[in-house]
């Protein structure tokens, strides 16, 4: 049965809906990185390096925040997101990445 919170994936994995994933990631990111550094969070389906279904979670940080954020905070954010998603039954591996809004909108190669 498809609920508001989770939906079964075709191959049998449990998947949280995008909104709940963003809520979890936003809560964990803000708690560890502070709202002074976090602008927003987005998520999308991805495939990991082993070809398995994964989640790409993008934490949008404010300009200049990358040099202010401590490694312990990003590590706690990673562990926190993984733990919360697992607790809620999400089986996909989350790939957590960071970008500023400007970096996200950048186009073209260098």
């Amino acid at each position: 049965m498809i609920t508001a919170k989770t939906a079964p994936q075709a191959i049998g994995h449990t998947m949280l809906d995008e909104k709940r994933i963003r809520e979890i990631a936003q809560e964990v990111a803000t708690a560890n990185l502070t709202s002074a550094n976090v602008s927003s969070v987005s998520s999308s389906a991805a495939i990991d390096s082993e070809g398995r279904d994964a989640l790409r979670i993008t934490i949008v940080i404010k300009p200049g925040s990358a040099s202010k954020i401590k490694g312990d905070s990003t590590l706690d954010t990673l562990v926190g997101i993984q733990d919360r998603l697992r607790e809620e039954g999400e089986e996909r591996f989350p790939i957590v990445e960071y970008a500023t809004k400007k970096e996200l909108s950048a186009s073209g190669g260098s």
Partner: protein
């Protein structure tokens, strides 16, 4: 024997994305992410070889044998395993009685994540990598090694034992 100093690798990674005119090149961002991962990889393998062969034996061939015995795939598999709330049966007898604990678990989470980014940096030309992510990958890798060092000797030894002597 030239054991790679993780701090030197982190310095190299930071240099690649240091402030310059305009955004860093994709090759530099990607190389910085690769280097952050390799710093954790080499630090882990060095810890294992130092533990079982000995720091004073770094110049011996057996040190080199042990150093080369760990694959990226096995490191990833083990790191995924130690993060599980309940270990698989084949790992249970080799785990500390009170589990691997939060420091090893956090270290393991970072290794898997960094390896994933490293793979994307090497092979995925469909995504554009950015300086913020590379900067924070380096910071995360440094923090991961600090957590590994903070783990109790018993937990670290259990992890390194399973890393070198794969349970069957």
């Amino acid at each position: 024997m030239a054991v790679l100093n993780p701090n030197h690798l982190f310095e190299q990674a930071n240099k690649l994305i240091a402030i310059q005119v305009g955004p860093p090149r994709q090759v530099d961002i990607r190389r910085a992410i690769l280097t952050a991962y390799y710093a954790t990889f080499h630090a882990t393998i060095t810890a294992a070889a130092d533990q079982f062969i000995g720091v004073t034996n770094r110049d011996t061939s057996r040190y080199g044998l042990v150093y080369r015995s760990v694959s990226h795939a096995w490191l990833r598999e083990l790191c995924k395993e130690v993060q599980k709330p309940t270990l698989s049966n084949k790992f249970k007898p080799h785990a500390p009685s009170n589990g691997f604990g939060p420091n090893i678990t956090a270290f393991a989470a970072a290794v898997v994540e960094l390896q994933e980014k490293r793979h994307a940096a090497d092979y995925d030309v469909m995504i554009r990598m950015n300086k913020s992510d590379a900067t924070l990958a380096i910071s995360t890798a440094k923090a991961a090694l600090r957590r590994f060092a903070k783990a109790s000797n018993a937990r670290r030894l259990a992890y390194l034992s399973v890393l070198l002597f794969q349970p069957r």
